[in-house]
Amino acid sequence: MIDMAPFTLSIQLAAVTLAVLLIIGTPLAWWLAMTRTPFKPVVETVTALPLVLPPTVLGFYLLVFLGPQGWAGGMWNAFFGRPLTFTFAGLVVASCVYSLPFVVQPLQGAFERLDRRTVEAALTLGASWPRTFVQVVLPQVRHGLLTASVLGFAHTIGEFGVVLMVGGNIPGETQVLSIAIYEHVEALDYAAAGTLSSILVAASFVGLLPLYSQARKRRKWREVSA
């Protein structure tokens, strides 16, 4: 019988990471889309770094940063009385950094394509900022939001290097799906590795399919209305 704990842990990690990223990433993406500051390219580059850095490099810095001697790890330890590395919370922080560009970039693109005059129209009609955001902005960026969510979620499920560096391989605590597969292969248990891998492939397919059928529908709709 295959242990499903790594699968559940991966889903949990991806869900929590996505929730945190949407909360942090949405205002960041909005700011990047609207700002006229000359520092915008700098912030954009920093946000995009996780795309190009090898996961081990990112994982190394995160390990140092989140470790007991690190700035964030030390603060966490002082506050909660336990370390951040090799825990689920540590994995969430690391995954957020790792998957940040996958959430921020689609959202930023969606905000940039937004018809800003509709926002201004809502404001002149007396709508508050929160109401404008919920009723006017969100419906217009829903496709970007969906893309950001699917990519952010899927990317977190698939991470390996960063998780291994920061979380290690503790079954039930930090042993996510990709690491469990690696361990099964190391132990030459190809059957178990194959089963987990096929679950991952199937889940990714099911996750991405709605995204691309959405895009197809939108294209079709556009052709009809044009």
Partner: protein, 363 residues
């Protein structure tokens, strides 16, 4: 109720706006100008979508913005009906949802009010459609209904006809005039088309280079533009540079005319409407000219005449008026009562109809 009083400067990316103007309640003012004149920026300042560098804006006796006091009411607090260029409708909502967006009250009241507006703007039957399935004229009416439904203090229209086919414009300008007729409040409409301005507006404000060059009733402004720039924007095609003047007599390389009153000392041009020029076939009468071409434009017969100095004057007559053939030497008579002296423009002070407390002195 005292209309809109603006005394403001604004700066963005090298463009300066410096406006002093008062717009009365119950009147529709067309803001006329070329692109880059600052027309839309003026509307955005009034709506609170841009902030002032200096000066203040009063509407209906309330202060909406005062740079010196650091006051800048956000757009939500200003009570502005704003019809954007291309309308900026919410395409993800129904027509009724668009119109109800700014209305206060319970869901039921908003729904009732929205359907009343649908009926009033001839949108019945379209309430549940989304705006992207409507025609240009229908979209314009949705935008108007959405802006008017919350009963705003003022109404701002930014190029309301830019997305409308030419053949529909005439009917829609008439419709708009009907909708605006009962408005007790001030209405500002940005346009670059003189025809729209004359059809819809009571007053015309001509803007150029970020300033209001002339503000007055539509007929005053178009009949007596006073400044060269204003004349160009209000469709005056016959403009001649003035080289000298003596009493009522003004002249240049093209010859001379006698006005029926002394010209202002800073007059640098004269202008005359094409339909006011008389063509004389006897030599010696008026300015000597040669007819270059004669063409018919619907009910108007237009003759292009070249003066001795090379300047061209356009003459309009009724389509059935016989005109000399091209190449004929004629005399052009410019009757003094129809010749308008024009200043260079920039130096002319903008009309200031606001006193220090922002109240408006009706000119």
């Amino acid at each position: 109720m005292t209309g809109i009083c603006i005394q403001a400067t604004h700066r963005r990316g090298g463009f300066d706006l410096d406006v002093q103007a008062g717009f009365s309640d119950g009147r529709v003012t067309a803001i006329l100008g070329g692109s880059g004149a600052g027309k839309s920026t003026l509307l955005r300042l009034v709506a609170g979508l841009e902030s002032l560098k200096t000066g203040r804006i009063h509407v209906g006796g309330r202060t909406w913005a005062d740079a010196a006091a650091g006051l800048h009411l956000p757009p939500q607090k200003r009570s502005v009906g704003y019809v954007f260029q291309d309308y900026a409708l919410f395409d993800h909502m129904s027509v009724a949802g668009n119109i109800a967006f700014g209305i206060k009250g319970s869901r039921k009241e908003r729904g009732r009010e929205a359907s009343r507006w649908c009926e009033r703007m001839h949108l019945d039957g379209l309430a549940e459609r989304t705006p992207d399935t409507l025609s240009g004229g229908q979209r314009q009416r949705v935008a108007l209904a959405r802006a008017l439904a919350p009963d705003p203090d003022i109404l701002l229209l930014d190029e309301p006809f830019s997305a409308i086919d030419t053949h529909l414009k005439r009917k829609l300008t008439d419709d708009l005039k009907d909708v605006l007729r009962d408005r007790p409040r001030a209405v500002l409409m940005v346009t670059h088309a003189l025809e729209e301005a004359r059809t819809v507006a009571d007053d015309i404000a001509v803007m150029a280079g970020g300033r209001v060059m002339r503000l007055g009733t539509a007929s005053d402004v178009t009949d007596d533009p006073r400044a060269h720039e204003v004349a160009v924007l209000t469709g005056w095609r016959n403009l001649l540079a003035v080289g000298w003047m003596s009493g009522n007599r003004m002249g240049g390389a093209w010859g001379a005319v006698d006005l029926d009153h002394p010209a202002p000392v800073d007059a640098a041009w004269i202008g005359i409407r094409p339909e006011r020029i008389r063509i004389e076939s006897q030599p010696g009468a008026g300015l000597p000219a040669i007819i270059k071409s004669v063409r018919d434009f619907g009910p108007v017969r237009e003759a292009e005449c070249v003066l001795g100095c090379g300047a061209t004057l356009t003459v309009h007559k009724a389509w059935d008026t016989p005109l000399p053939a091209p190449g004929t030497r004629v005399g052009l008579v410019l009757p003094g009562e129809h010749v308008r002296p024009l200043t260079e423009g920039r130096a002319m002070a903008a009309v200031d109809r606001c006193d220090a407390r922002g109240r408006q002195a009706r000119a």
